[in-house]
């Protein structure tokens, strides 16, 4: 009876095992329909990931520069942080299905929800970052200003990285399975963009630490992104396809060229500035590629099913395989 056509409603159970690490055989599915839902999130989210990273890391840079005595850089980074954080709440609110009810986020504090913790974090961090700028302009209450600077620096480090955990605390395979790398990837991107923004906007001669930071961030971004895709195996192949693939390649090229230019631009400010623009673009494209990869991963039933079936077959699942 091998003349049967492929069974209706099933992907043929042929197993294209190609020996790649983490490439489980294709499993049957329900008419190749997705098993999980695509995110409901819209364009505001990747911009928020970018703005939050830029703001948070700028606050960290500002605090570090202040402690090391680079006051000009510290002032400028503090302004950049406040400028970026101003964009964050509107982006998040306009992404809601019911924006007029945004304040319900502050109705409860739920440690099991990274978004709940993140909402409170954003509320606290934006108060500190904006307060620090306001107090420094006003010129009074220097102690309170120092407290605000310290708080913004400390909270900023979490602000720039928690968004990785926000994406990871979901059932989207390409996000959840990258739960180790995403916070580091977003933190690296934040450092790269904070350093670059400070290079572009700081007074001449004061931006050397920012340039070093941007180079470190860009390099780390490239390394972590590679590690992430390697560890994801089959699930990570969405980074080579369609929109996620295009953003991913753009991010790689822009970050590599920009990081290289900044590394070589120590005594050539124009080259460093050119590189800074490229690194900023790369960091933004990186968030877009992660964002789009989530949609593609959710659409692909094999990304959900194959690793689960493989897990069960290895005896490492959370439920018994069938009674067969």
């Amino acid at each position: 009876m091998n003349a049967d056509p492929a069974p209706l409603g099933e992907v043929a159970a042929s197993a294209p095992v190609d020996g790649r690490v983490g490439h489980p055989p294709e499993v049957r599915s329900y008419y190749a329909r997705p098993v999980i839902k695509e995110p409901a999130w819209t364009w505001e989210v990747p911009w928020y990931l970018f703005a939050g990273g830029l703001a948070g890391c700028s606050s960290v840079l500002s605090l570090a520069a202040r402690l090391a005595g680079h006051d000009a850089l510290a002032d400028r980074a503090r302004l950049i942080a406040a400028g970026a954080v101003v964009a964050c709440p509107p982006l998040l609110i306009s992404d809601l299905g019911r924006p007029a009810r945004f304040y319900n986020m502050l109705r409860v504090f739920k440690p099991t929800s990274v978004m709940s913790v993140g909402s409170w974090l954003l509320a606290a961090y934006s108060t500190a970052a904006a307060g620090a700028v306001g107090l420094s302009r006003w010129g009074r209450l220097p102690r309170l200003r120092a407290v605000a600077d310290t708080a913004a620096g400390g909270l900023g480090a979490v602000m720039a990285t928690y968004t990785g955990g926000l994406m990871a605390d979901t059932s989207i395979p390409v996000w959840h399975e990258a739960r180790r790398e995403l916070p580091i990837l977003f933190g690296s991107g934040g450092l790269a963009s904070a350093g670059s923004a400070a290079v572009l906007l700081s007074p001449r001669g004061s931006a050397e630490p920012a340039r070093r930071l941007a180079v470190t961030g860009a390099g780390s971004e490239l390394v972590v992104e590679n590690v992430m895709r390697r560890r994801l195996g089959m699930v990570g192949e969405v980074y080579e396809r369609a929109e996620a693939g295009r953003y991913h390649r753009a991010a790689q090229v822009a970050t590599l060229l920009g990081g290289g230019a900044m590394a070589a631009g120590r005594h050539r400010p124009w080259l460093a500035r050119l590189g800074a623009v490229s690194v900023l673009v790369g960091s933004l494209a990186q968030r877009w590629s992660v964002f789009k990869a989530g949609f593609q991963s959710a659409r692909d039933p094999q990304a959900t099913l194959a690793p689960q079936r493989a897990r069960l077959n290895r005896g490492e699942g959370h439920r018994e395989s069938s009674r067969s």
């Binding site: 409901a40 299905g97 480090a157 933190g187 920012a210």
Partner: protein, 340 residues
């Protein structure tokens, strides 16, 4: 079928929870072996809960299933799988007989499959009863229904009402809560439509409703007819189900009943029988709505090994911490390093 399905002291004569049964966990046992794919559950659910028409309704062209999947505007979904002979899990793997043999040998009269492959025909005297039945043609050859071994798998899917519900755990507003019947319900007047639950659900159940629809922008899913339960009524789908494929009741009782039923079917030789979501030690702590399936879960569009993503929350926060420490260290190195 007798109404043994309702023989619980927690249920009234109408199959609803008796007053004072708060604190008991109620749920669904969906026995897909007796589902006939009539979709009465889908209709009853839409009617009772005033679930709007789907905006993306269409003709799938795949099967008799034109609902496609669960979502904000489909809280019950009947899946249709058409399996020609030899394509079910067991006979393909050489592990068991094709279902037709099981049906033939289901002699004890309890498997509910005695009719399988035997067209009872129309009663004598009925219009068309004298017509010679046309044999179906399968793969280009005429085949008697008793021999083609073709089977339809039908299953009414629904929100699983997980013990550890991912949607509830990630909800930042507290809009999603466990009721006094241990079911999982969205409070529409609290939900602000952040969509986090949509990405968290490992089954793809909950969804944000399109703007423009009633309640648009908010997240919607099965409530296990919370309003009806409070009024001592059973959920609309269970009441409408003509074959008791959807059984409502106290979860413990349903689990015991499902074990008996699965053993019956296995004894009768039905291939692929397995319970899905009944085990409290699985990746979501077990489901309040669980299933008896006749093939692997993925064939029905169900994830074979679902896990609540928040189980890895500790790891997630640990790596956020590592990353944050790294950010601070990198900034420190940048301002201190080099020769200024």
């Amino acid at each position: 079928m007798t109404h043994s399905a309702h023989a619980s002291d927690q249920l009234n004569h109408a199959g609803g929870p008796v007053p004072g049964s708060q604190g008991t966990r109620f749920g669904f046992f969906t026995d897909t072996s007796v589902c006939i794919g009539c979709k009465a559950c889908e209709v009853a659910c839409k009617e009772w809960n005033q679930v709007p028409e789907r905006t993306d309704t269409g003709f799938t062209g795949d099967s008799m299933d034109n609902t496609g999947d669960l979502g904000a505007d489909a809280w019950r979904h009947v899946a249709f799988i058409e399996q020609p002979h030899g394509h079910d899990a067991m006979s393909r793997a050489g592990l068991g007989p094709p279902i037709i043999d099981a049906a033939r040998h289901a002699g004890n009269g309890r498997a509910g499959l005695e009719w399988f492959g035997q067209d009872p025909g129309l009663p004598p005297g009925a219009h068309g009863a004298e017509a010679i039945p046309q044999l179906p043609v399968f793969n280009g050859e005429p085949a008697s229904p008793a021999e083609d071994g073709f089977r339809w798998l039908m299953s009414s899917d629904v929100c699983k009402h997980c013990t550890q519900a991912a949607c509830l755990e990630v909800c930042p507003t507290g809009a999603i809560f466990y009721t006094e019947f241990d079911t999982v319900v969205v409070q529409d007047d609290v939900c602000n439509g952040c969509g986090y639950c949509v990405t968290a659900c490992p089954y793809g159940v909950i969804e944000r409703r399109s703007p423009g629809q009633p309640g648009g922008g908010g997240a919607f899913k099965c409530t296990l007819c919370y309003d009806r339960m409070k009024g001592s009524q059973q959920p609309a789908c269970a009441q409408a189900c003509p074959t008791d494929s959807i059984q409502f009741g106290p979860l413990e009782e349903l689990r015991a009943r499902a074990d008996v039923r699965a053993d019956e079917l296995i004894e009768a030789g039905v291939p692929g029988v397995q319970l899905y979501g009944h085990d409290p030690s699985d990746g979501v702590g077990g489901n309040g709505a669980f299933f008896l399936l006749l093939d692997e879960p993925e064939v029905y569009g169900l994830p074979p090994d679902p896990v609540t993503p928040t189980r890895n929350l500790g790891e997630i926060w640990r790596w956020i911490g590592v990353a944050a420490a790294g950010v601070v260290a990198a900034a420190g190195a940048a301002v201190l390093g080099g020769d200024r």
